[in-house]
Symmetry: C2
Subunit: 455 residues, 2 copies
């Protein structure tokens, strides 16, 4: 029984009803030419024939699953594919709006810890005859970056390719199972786990105590208190939309900034408009936590979360002029104010939640009002497919990430490049972030304003 590295188990240990720790993704497909009425039924049938399940998707928690003891994965020899792969439909009128509503519901419920920690929905009933897929994987199994890599691995840039595996499969041949570990191997794994735990714990304690709780560490920026930095409930809202990469590229080259700066400026403009609408725009500029990849091109194989860092970015939401906001953002990102360089963005997020509801302790009423958030919002740009991709002939129109929320961070914007588009997925706490879908309109406005300002 392989021990679970603490980087996996921490996501299980901190998970509660209000803080599901899974990452989700919504994919939108156009059916191939000539697809008949029975296309989806046949597709579903064919997929269920794919019983070759990638080892990551076969492992489940060793029992007991709800004690502090679950530091081990075991292989599920009795995987119930009909449980994990679900057939779903949109109610009338079958617009994207109904798809987002269903996605919100799916993203709000916990995965079953007695089974491999993933679910995939094949969704019919879109009024434009496209179909969708929503997938959900526990963060202990894979992070958002790895999930996107996995998705790319099952797709093809050839529209006529018909050998794409099911989403739980794998194109690369499964590595042969290692021989059963002997007692010394187990000891060694145990020691390795302890070392990782030892490596993480002091950092976590240091950050939690010094940075947030005792205010001794000076953060590189001062984030204002906002309506987004509150304790959250368990229900989610999800919104998604694509924008042409060319439009973002155009602003970037006209202003002499990076594409990511433009994306951040879109988000800044949208957040400003949203907060004004909610009569909740703070005087001080919002601060975003921006994960940055420290991976080099040569890193192959499974992504390790520890090759990512986190930057703080001044979003300039106090500026009325879009061009001025873009300049503030570009300067802020150039300054490279690194937040907690020893920790991954998700660890940073976890620690920011300590600020609101101390983990492991009972919530202290009013605590949230007495401390400032380390940042206001997570904005994450995850690399996706560079070319137009297909899945057994079906054209991938969009791939929208749905992310993890924690106390104190009620909104997350994650986007990914997908061929000629940038696909934005916005995840919010249903209670704290009303009218989330308006952020889509505001993002659109913000991009148009940036184009106008840099024309």
């Amino acid at each position: 029984m392989p021990m679970m590295p603490v980087t996996d188990s921490m996501f299980l240990l901190v998970e509660t009803r209000e803080h599901p720790m899974h990452v989700g993704g919504l994919q939108l497909f156009t059916k191939p030419d000539g697809a008949g009425d029975d296309y989806l039924a046949k597709l579903r049938h064919d997929m269920l024939e794919n019983t070759e399940v990638r080892s990551l998707f076969r492992r489940r928690l060793a029992k007991p699953v709800n004690s502090l003891g679950y530091l081990a994965w075991v292989e599920d020899n009795d995987l119930d594919l009909h449980y994990h792969f679900r057939h779903s439909a949109l109610p009338q009128p079958g617009r994207v709006r109904e798809l987002l509503e269903l996605t919100s519901r799916w993203h709000s419920t916990l995965l079953d810890r007695h089974r491999p920690l993933w679910e995939i929905h094949l969704v019919e009933g879109l009024n434009d005859d496209r179909f969708a897929m929503y997938s959900k994987v526990h963060h202990a199994v894979m992070d958002g970056v790895s999930a996107l890599r996995h998705l790319q691995g099952i797709l093809s840039d050839d529209p006529s390719a018909t050998d794409c595996p099911a989403p739980w499969g794998s194109r690369s041949p499964q590595r042969p199972r290692r021989p059963r570990p002997g007692p010394f191997d187990l000891l060694r794994t145990a020691r390795r786990t302890t070392e990782q735990l030892a490596g993480l714990a002091p950092a976590a304690v240091r950050v939690a105590n010094e940075a947030f709780r005792e205010h001794r560490l000076t953060l590189p920026m001062q984030a204002p208190r906002t309506m987004l930095n509150v304790p959250i409930g368990g229900a989610r809202r999800f919104a998604a939309q694509s924008w042409p990469l060319d439009r973002v590229r155009g602003v970037a080259s006209a202003a002499g900034v990076s594409r990511n700066d433009v994306v951040l400026a879109m988000c800044a403009g949208a957040l400003r408009d949203y907060l004004i609408e909610q009569r909740a725009l703070p005087d001080a500029p919002l601060v975003a936590m921006v994960p940055v990849s420290l991976r080099t091109r040569s890193d192959g194989g499974e992504a390790s979360g520890n090759q990512i860092g986190a930057m703080l970015c001044n979003l300039g939401t106090d500026r009325t002029d879009p061009a001025a906001r873009l300049a503030v953002i570009a300067r802020s990102m150039r300054d490279g104010k690194r937040l907690f360089k020893d920790l991954t963005p998700l660890q940073v997020l976890l620690l920011s939640a300590l600020n609101v509801a101390p983990l492991g302790a009972s919530p202290v009423p009013g605590f949230v009002n007495n401390t400032r958030p380390p940042f206001n919002v997570v904005i994450s740009n995850v690399p996706g497919p560079r070319k137009q991709m297909y899945w057994n002939g079906a054209k991938l129109d969009g791939v929208y990430p749905a992310s993890v929320l924690l106390d104190g961070q009620a909104l997350n914007i994650t986007l990914t490049s997908n061929g000629d588009n940038l696909d934005f997925g916005i995840t919010g706490c249903r209670r704290s972030v009303p009218h989330l879908q308006r952020l889509l309109t505001h993002l659109d406005t913000a991009l148009a304003e940036l184009e106008y300002a840099t024309r």
Copy 2:
């Protein structure tokens, strides 16, 4: 802030990911004559206009919701009806099978503790043009009997009545809100809660210790160990079907037994066939826990769970002859072997789970194998509407209860009378009870065999 009686709060305290403590119900409707294509869209729209929410459905837990401190309800002044009332659709081909599959999924997920503890799905897409409604209410808010009473309260026996309230509404005028309690009232409520707790705790401790854990109390029957009496996972299966009340009545009068005896014999025959199929029929007869109402006709108003008792019934599953099984069951029910008369059936169920996974303690591996279950299955017959009922002209074809499962009791059969039918709802742990829907076939066979044996 009214204190929560311990009879409510216990369902919140014992709830875990694997043991959601809500009751569900699936209702099937035929649209009224002349219903157009936009019937459901209009229905949904009209329902959302019904913002008059019954006080039970407006209350939510006072924060913090996940500590042992949540002994109080507060009124949710910001109820999000679009969250609680959901619009859903069946995937193709839209058979009852797809409806049951979706119901299983909905019944497997936890309610959000930050909101009033209920959800209702309006379901379209049935291939026979009917529609369905799935509702889910936390047991802390209402038990199965009260949920059925509430349903009857919103229906009408007049097909032309158009004044039926929404499922969250109430026909009876809301009682005026009591004046805010003074400090003495609060003290009194606190004292009353303490008394209830004191009243329950010794009984619970006595039963848990004496009956199950230290084996000192001799149960009136010896239930065998079976595949149904194991720790359960969080996922559920749900199956449902109606049988004509006349057929059951026919067997009852031919055999000179009660209708409930016939129902129990149907279940006994079905369980026998199922366990034979699974190669898991024990030599000794299965023992059912059968809730019995101790209510008198004159009891009006809100049902209190404490007016129900629990009987043990020998299901005679060791007999091959259906008539002999029926005779064993009728005799067993006449003997009236009462189980724990101071406790409600759900308290009994809770305590039976202690046997498998001691609450509050970490699970002891192998514990389940060392003790015998107090009973093998819960079979519950809940009174439903006596006449054919309608909801704003839509004919109620079926009302199928979905129940609570706990460790050690992986299967629950709950049925309700509905006009000329008996509607059976079967809830099972997805992991422990494979091919649950076969029980429907076996129930049908068992009824036919009983008819043949008593013809």
